[in-house]
């Protein structure tokens, strides 16, 4: 049943997959291959466990696709498959760095809106150098850049503004002024890729400060309000512009 319906995973890497598609994994990962545990095969089978990333679920001997998008594969360390999909709605994931907006202070805990289905909680002690006497100065409406330390479907997400060694490493309360806006998650991943051209080209235009949250939120601050708004418009339009259109737009702006 599954064999006639599924296709080999390697054949579909880089192509569009839809929910309901069944991906068959190569035979080396099949552990009960007719009683033979050790197989001498010509191709070197990668050791280690196969990682099943976002958009895929294990089902029987294969992987079931649950989101539409492009199938990606990383061959290192046992291999990993995932679906690269575009969406606007953020689902909290442990370890993600996000920008949250403080909505309430409830005793020792701040409630932050991170764009998910539940507000996240942030303890006042989770800042660098915070003690019971030395509380951080956080008001309702402030922006906080932090990372998730607990984020699963069963519990309310929890954030902290320090990393595992107790240093803030860039996290904490985001300063005054600046502009916060929302884009799709795919654009954020593109901007966070190493050596992103968009950021390099923009930095030649005006100097600016930029904070990217994995929940689709971007905070920008430049010297004047006009420069800030120009950068905001370019980043929002980057989603739909091709590289040439963007270079033309930036050339026109830097000529002014």
């Amino acid at each position: 049943m599954a064999a006639e319906r599924g296709t080999a995973a390697e054949a579909l890497v880089g192509q569009v997959v839809l929910p309901g598609d069944l991906l068959l994994l190569p035979a080396h990962y099949d552990e009960d291959a007719e009683g033979e545990r050790l197989r001498l095969s010509a191709g070197a089978a990668p050791q280690g466990r196969l990682l099943c990333g976002p958009g895929l679920r294990r089902s029987g001997a294969g992987l079931l696709v649950t989101k539409c998008g492009l199938l990606r594969h990383r061959p290192g360390g046992g291999g990993a498959y995932w679906v690269d999909s575009q969406q606007k709605r953020y689902v909290p994931v442990k370890g993600d760095h996000v920008i949250g907006i403080v909505t309430a202070k409830a005793g020792d805990v701040f409630r932050l809106d991170v764009g998910g289905s539940e507000p996240a909680s942030l303890s006042y002690l989770a800042f660098e150098g915070a003690t019971k006497r030395n509380r951080p100065n956080v008001q309702v409406g402030d922006l906080i850049y932090g990372q998730f330390v607990v984020a699963n479907k069963d519990m309310e997400p929890e954030m902290v503004c320090i990393d595992s060694s107790g240093k803030s490493s860039g996290m904490g309360i985001i300063g005054q002024d600046g502009f916060l806006f929302k884009v799709s998650l795919g654009l954020i991943r593109k901007l966070l890729a190493p050596k992103c051209e968009i950021i390099q080209e923009l930095s030649q235009l005006y100097p600016f400060e930029l904070v990217l949250g994995m929940n689709g939120r971007i905070w920008v601050k430049a010297k004047t309000v006009q420069q800030t708004l120009i950068i905001v418009n370019i980043l929002e339009a980057c989603e739909y512009m091709t590289a040439e259109q963007r270079k033309q737009a930036l050339a026109k702006l830097s000529g002014n």
Binding site: P19, L64, S117
Partner: protein, 147 residues
């Protein structure tokens, strides 16, 4: 009215069968459909639109689904995707929601009277027609991700 409520129930049952709700406990997923123009086969149009909206939003689905409407004319011929005029003249209108995994039937609703054999024939025709709709979904998604 009652007709809209019954359509809502049918859509809801179909969506609940494919959406992987276990990944989002204690969460409400609300789907809003606005009818811009109705030229017949409204329920299957709503089903197709609902599936594309769930795909676009990135909700985890175990399979895709599509809606197909069949009209049984008084002389026994089966018409797929009838217009409003053809729906009025038909003896029975059957709407099926068909899943992409082995073309299983998720929802079936009938208005009018027909025999069991005729219903089986309509179901077979709808399952064949579902292939075209699933190919359309695939082409649309391909276009979107090619940019």
């Amino acid at each position: 009215g009652v007709l809209e409520r019954s359509r809502e129930q049918l859509l809801r049952q179909t969506c609940e069968a494919v959406v992987l709700g276990v990944l989002h406990p204690r969460t409400a997923i609300s789907l809003v459909l606005q009818v811009l123009s109705d030229a017949g086969s409204l329920l299957s149009c709503c089903l197709n639109a609902a599936c594309m909206a769930l795909l676009d939003a990135g909700l985890p689905l175990s399979a895709l689904f599509c809606g197909v409407t069949c009209a049984l004319q008084p002389d026994g011929t089966i018409l797929l995707d009838p217009t409003a005029r053809q729906e009025q003249e038909a003896r029975a209108i059957l709407t099926f929601a068909i899943a992409s995994s082995e073309r299983k039937v998720l929802m079936a609703t009938t208005k009018g009277s027909c025999s069991v054999e005729e219903m089986q024939q309509c179901l077979a025709a709808a399952q064949r027609a579902a292939d075209t709709i699933f190919q359309f979904y695939r082409d649309s998604v391909r276009r979107r991700y090619s940019k």
